[in-house]
């Protein structure tokens, strides 16, 4: 087994837990996940170990997810960012009690700038500083978006549970 294969196996879950809730579609997420590791493979020589490998992969994963979301928005397929216009996917209409589905649906109804921070900080468990580094945002911005994002997410989940 090559060292790279070991890295893929070790960080597969980390990358999945960023991309799947970001794009909200498991099939697209799989492709973006593969692309994340291929990008890393190509840029391995440039990786000097300044940051942790997980942080480095998270940055690639989040950037590729944002590109995908932007591409979708160009095709007018972006999920609504307006809380009043939540579009419920098939899985949620089945009133699934699965937390993962619930979180996926709630996150897909959130603005991407809040979504990315919630995912990195609370789902992935990066520190606030690491989240700020990954997203290349000031710490204050991350903290304020985190607080507002949590409030929004609570409201969305409460609404989804009522449906």
């Amino acid at each position: 087994m090559s060292a790279f294969e070991t890295i893929v196996m070790r960080y597969e879950r980390l990358v999945a837990k960023i991309i799947i809730p970001m794009v909200g579609n498991k099939y697209d997420a799989d492709d973006i996940g593969q692309e994340t590791f291929i990008r890393f493979y190509k840029s391995m020589k440039q990786f000097k170990g300044d940051s942790q490998l997980g942080t480095y992969l998270a940055r690639i994963a989040i950037n590729l997810s944002l590109n995908e979301i932007k591409k979708r928005s160009n095709h007018r397929m972006l999920s609504s960012t307006d809380f009043k216009n939540i579009e419920i996917t098939d899985t949620s209409t089945e009133k699934s009690t699965d937390n993962t589905e619930l979180v996926n649906n709630a996150l897909s109804a959130m603005d991407v700038k809040f979504r990315s921070i919630i995912i990195l900080r609370h789902i992935q468990g990066f520190s606030t500083k690491e989240t700020a580094d990954i997203l290349n945002l000031p710490l204050g911005t991350v903290l304020s978006r985190l607080s507002r994002g949590q409030d929004k997410l609570k409201k969305i989940i409460t609404k989804l549970e009522k449906i």
Partner: protein, 99 residues
């Protein structure tokens, strides 16, 4: 009943998030990487072939040039190479006076 009345409950819900790729993800990544490598190596091969042809053409041109110098001048001296074996320094002056 709502699962999240408090922030702690929201954080608990988020921490139980269980996102995974479909089975065989690692194999798919390794296949993609192998594909990338083979594409890259075929690009390298094409570049090497072109480089080899250019290099060989250059060497052939140099050999032909040396051979032609030897045939016309009969030696490989610097003067022979620059065509100065039978050069007379007064010739240009005489030629310019005649002109």
């Amino acid at each position: 009943m709502s699962k999240i009345n408090k922030s702690d409950e929201l954080l608990g819900l988020l921490s139980t998030y269980n996102g995974t790729f479909a089975d065989g993800f690692t194999n798919r990544v390794m296949d993609s990487v192998d594909e990338e490598n083979s594409t890259a190596s075929s690009d390298d091969m094409a570049f090497y072939k072109i480089y080899r042809w250019v290099a060989l053409s250059g060497v052939a041109a140099i050999i032909v040039l040396l051979f032609s110098v030897y045939l016309t001048e009969g030696s490989f001296t610097t003067d022979a190479f620059f065509g100065l074996v039978n050069y007379n320094a007064n010739e240009p002056i005489i030629a310019s006076l005649n002109y």
